[in-house]
């Protein structure tokens, strides 16, 4: 029954980039298991391979060698279309740059994942309104992203990531573009998602202070895991 508790399993994962003639390994044989309901911080200096690892965990990229099991499915062996759906249902992304679509309103941005997953219109609309109220942006529903502050945009992106009720929240430097006060409020939201709602939160950061929120800290160095600390 132990396996059921493991939501993500990286098994001897390599990622090698080709720079012209030279092969540059970004990850070198990473093996790690992430349990369901854990709050994991992946830390490391720039160039340590943490962004590469995040891309692989998020199924945005496939490894050069090794296997990645997401909910017991090997992502290197399923079709692109199934991978997209698995990604959409299982993982909610939060990016440093918020990555909202600038030509769409806040409402349309949050609605979008559900359109890809073919939710019915009524459910999608209700969920969007509800989640935007929850993150305190109900009144900005018809604004464009550029009309909001950085913190507000990041809350929209959190709303978008949560609206399909994914099991994993994958955040890449979520407070990197925010001031410390706003950053703290965002981190509190993550903490609550983990503590109260039982989400698995995986956060990539170079900020050791943020890593303190996490239960498990994975430190990368030169494409390999240096340490794994659990509280």
């Amino acid at each position: 029954m132990k396996e059921n508790n493991i939501i993500l399993h990286l098994d001897n994962v390599w990622k090698i980039y080709k720079m012209g003639e030279v092969d540059v390994p970004a990850l070198r044989g990473v093996t790690v298991e992430i349990k369901k309901g854990d709050f994991v911080a992946i830390i490391g200096a720039s160039g340590s391979g943490k962004s590469t690892m995040m891309n692989l965990i998020g199924c945005l990229d496939i490894p050069s060698k090794g296997n990645i099991l997401l909910k017991n499915q090997d992502i290197t062996k399923i079709s692109e279309s199934d991978l997209a759906t698995l990604r959409g249902r299982t993982i909610g992304f939060i990016f440093q740059q918020y990555n909202l679509i600038p030509s769409m309103t806040i409402y349309a941005n949050v609605l979008l994942p559900m359109e890809f997953l073919e939710y019915d219109d009524k459910t999608a609309s209700e969920k969007t309104r509800k989640i935007l109220e929850t993150v305190g942006l109900g009144k900005y529903m018809h604004h464009l992203p550029t009309q909001l502050s950085g913190g507000e945009q990041q809350r929209v992106s959190i709303a978008r990531s949560l609206v399909t009720d994914p099991e994993i929240i994958l955040a890449d430097e979520p407070t990197g573009n925010l001031d410390s006060v706003t950053g703290k409020s965002i981190m509190d939201m993550f903490y609550n998602l983990w503590k109260k709602e039982g989400k698995t939160v995986i956060m990539v950061t170079h900020d050791l202070k943020l890593a303190e929120y996490a239960h498990t800290t994975i430190e990368l160095k030169d494409g390999q895991i240096k340490t794994i600390n659990k509280k």
Binding site: D61, E80, A84, N99, L112, E115, F116, E118
Partner: protein
């Protein structure tokens, strides 16, 4: 994603598109508009022609002397040319004269015929003058044989002498002031009264043939330029032509080879004109189609740029669950919509253009029924432009759908 949602997003992309997209659309608009306008004008010209043909009933024949004149539009008749003069007044050139008239009288299949001469004359009215074509007609039969219709006044009568019937354009706008009924017009220093104005756009003058002999210096009394024949039974047109030819060949002492006259039916002429018109039309449409192809290249170019511009958005969409085929659908719909919007605007501009062109061209005699854009040409124009959009947009859309999410997200 459901297709209807893809369509919605594609529509949003067109609505939010920048000037560039509108310029792309403009490319399609110009192509479609020119094709539509040319199709409509060509169609209307052919309709007018068919109508004229219907009005003629196809029962009118024109007999002229000389072989090459009536048989070829480009004067490329029989190289040997006419030999001998038959029953002619001069030996050099074949002509039509009273002998031929008498021969025609003996053919029972002919209902009536009108002997005509024509030439250029100086006309003046209220101090202004100009050169127009004068046709002398046999006023006793002219009104039965002619295809022209009277607009105001009356046709020529058997008792008429110093009177004329004039073309609609000559009456309306040839001179500074319009010529009305019963006005006096000077032709070669003789004064004539206008008794009728034709419902057409010609500048021709018609007068009794005896008067015309006096007006046209080089014409000899009893020699005709042409004889317009109305046959009794249109169904037996070719048979009648055969009879006339046999008879005339006998009278004029010529054989099939040395034939020195020609008979053209208005039906043949209309058909030749119609053929020329349609090949002219195809040529113009081909030129217009080139601009449509240029428009298509514009769509492809714009789509490639659009994919580049939206690379990051494609990455975002993929990270939140978009499949390759969702992206492909959105971009294909976008390209198709650009085509559709371009096609739609093109049809509108094409319609306006086709309505305005006759006026701009000045020559409206071929478009008397006015131009119209047929439902068919609208459907063709719209579907062609959508198809062009899809074809031009396919490669960029396919590229967009194949972007790796990680690369797309990294794109700035």
């Amino acid at each position: 994603m459901k297709l209807i949602k893809c369509l919605k997003h594609a529509f949003g992309m067109v609505l939010h598109s920048k000037v560039r997209s509108w310029l792309t659309i403009l490319g399609i608009v110009i192509g479609v508009a020119s094709v539509v306008a040319i199709m409509s004008i060509g169609g209307s010209m052919q309709d007018t022609m068919t109508e004229q043909l219907g009005g003629l009933g196809g029962d009118i024949l024109t007999l002229t002397a000389g072989f090459s004149r009536g048989m070829s539009m480009f004067g490329m008749g029989d190289g040997e040319g006419p030999e001998g003069g038959g029953s002619t007044a001069t030996d050099e050139e074949p002509v039509l004269d009273r002998t031929d008239v008498q021969a025609l009288r003996a053919i029972p299949d002919i209902e009536a015929f009108d002997t005509q001469i024509s030439g250029s004359v100086e006309v003046s009215y209220l101090g202004k003058s100009g050169s127009v074509r004068l046709t002398g007609v046999d006023q006793k039969v002219w009104s039965r044989v002619t295809t022209s219709e009277i607009g105001e006044g009356r046709m020529l009568d058997s008792a008429d002498q110093n009177v004329i019937v004039i073309g609609g354009k000559l009456a309306e706008s040839y001179f500074d002031k319009p010529i009305g009924l019963n006005q006096m017009v000077t032709i070669e220093e003789n004064v004539f009264r206008v008794v009728g104005i034709l419902d057409d756009t010609s500048t021709n003058i018609y007068m009794p043939i005896q008067m015309a002999y006096q007006m046209l210096d080089d014409k000899e009394n009893g020699i005709y330029d042409s004889i317009v024949i109305k046959v009794k039974d249109e169904e037996k047109l070719n048979e009648t032509i055969g009879k006339i030819e046999t008879k005339l060949m006998m009278i004029r002492h010529v054989t099939e080879k040395t034939k020195d006259f020609s008979i053209s039916s208005s039906k043949q002429m209309q058909e030749t004109r119609s053929e020329m018109m349609s090949s002219m039309n195809s040529f113009l449409i081909a030129i217009a189609a080139v601009s449509l192809i240029v428009g298509a290249v514009g769509v492809a170019n714009s789509m490639f740029t659009s994919v580049l511009e939206k690379t990051k958005e494609i990455g975002i969409m993929k990270s939140i669950g978009a499949r390759n085929k969702d992206i492909l659908s959105i971009f294909l719909f976008n390209a198709a919509l650009i085509g559709l919007v371009g096609g739609f605007l093109g049809v509108i501009f094409g319609t306006i253009l086709s309505a305005m062109l006759p006026a701009l061209m000045g020559e409206t005699s071929m478009l008397r029924g006015g131009t119209f854009v047929s439902v068919n040409s609208i459907i063709i124009a719209l579907s062609v432009s959508v198809i062009i959009g899809i074809i031009a947009g396919f490669v960029p859309a396919y590229q967009a759908s194949k972007l790796k999410p990680v690369d797309a997200l990294r794109y700035e």
